[in-house]
Symmetry: C2
Subunit: 214 residues, 2 copies
Amino acid sequence: MSDNELLKNSAPLPSVRRLPLYLTVLEEFEREGKEWISTTDFSEVLFLKPIQVRKDLAHTGIIGKPKKGFKVTELISTIYNFLGWNNLTEAFLVGAGALGSALLGYSGFQRHGLNIVAAFDVSVNVIGKSIHGKEILSIEKLPDLARRMHVRLGIITVPAARAQEAADCLVSAGISGIWNFSPSKLHVPPNVVVQREDLSSGLAVLSVKLGRFD
Amino acid sequence: MSDNELLKNSAPLPSVRRLPLYLTVLEEFEREGKEWISTTDFSEVLFLKPIQVRKDLAHTGIIGKPKKGFKVTELISTIYNFLGWNNLTEAFLVGAGALGSALLGYSGFQRHGLNIVAAFDVSVNVIGKSIHGKEILSIEKLPDLARRMHVRLGIITVPAARAQEAADCLVSAGISGIWNFSPSKLHVPPNVVVQREDLSSGLAVLSVKLGRFD
């Protein structure tokens, strides 16, 4: 096992979740032409304790310079490398409804190494149409295309009742990771990674917190 | 304090975060014409323990019927009422870039009581343009419009460096809740609620988990 793999295996997920935040700060420093960034810089923008910043960044394997901190460009490439975001991961999206269309139009993913190369649906109303420059294909074409293009990642944006079906289709097509935007939990083999995302749960928390101030 | 307020104040946030998941299952049952739903039904679809389902739902104040469970329509309206989603909350969106545009096009929010009534930006390149049927207005118009329309909620989708500025503008316009999609933590007065959302952190976790299987 390489050092990089060792680091990836040991980093706690809350630290991993914060790495995109560090990247955003770093990219702003880069745009402003700054060469160095300190633990304090991060801790002030992100409201994190300096010790937490040091721990989070240590997981990527980088070592800072006393008094100066980190070289901005070096830390950016270290984090990208750690997350595997320097290589574009090609993904298929299943479900071209409202949320699927929104994700197809979100250019931020590309910066984070995610390239949605094709989108699929079951509905004849959308198959053949183009959304944000991407043609929607029939789900029947997915298995064959996934194998030919060696696509490893699937994004599920179908209704809950259809999510398992979509996952089965992706799994049988040899996909190894699923980003699940549907509310259903998915049954997948142990070698397939699933990450569930739910926009509405943040909204629910916000609604209840707002209600507490009424 | 009313019973409903008491319930809202005591419900733990992890339970609140799960309520939209219950709603999605309920709405599918409703579409299929089913009248009753049991704890087991939820627990099977959502992979939650029955005791967790019972606890989560108890926070909304509903009491199930032995053997039958919950009336689908009644539980839907109880959860909507608990979350305040039966009344549309009007929101302003600040930042009409890629993510902001994606959110403007996401029809799922409307179902969850969120109505984005106007979108604002600072860039002359987008001001005056229409995105998903909504005209993008100059940020300068925000304070006056917020007061006239009694808008309580702001959604921030600007770059990190601009987020505090956007928050200050929203706060001074009398907004009481902010859904923050930028990576910056925001300084706001104690009577303003902030909920931070980060799409990329889910992607970071997925990337690292995928790397662990390489």
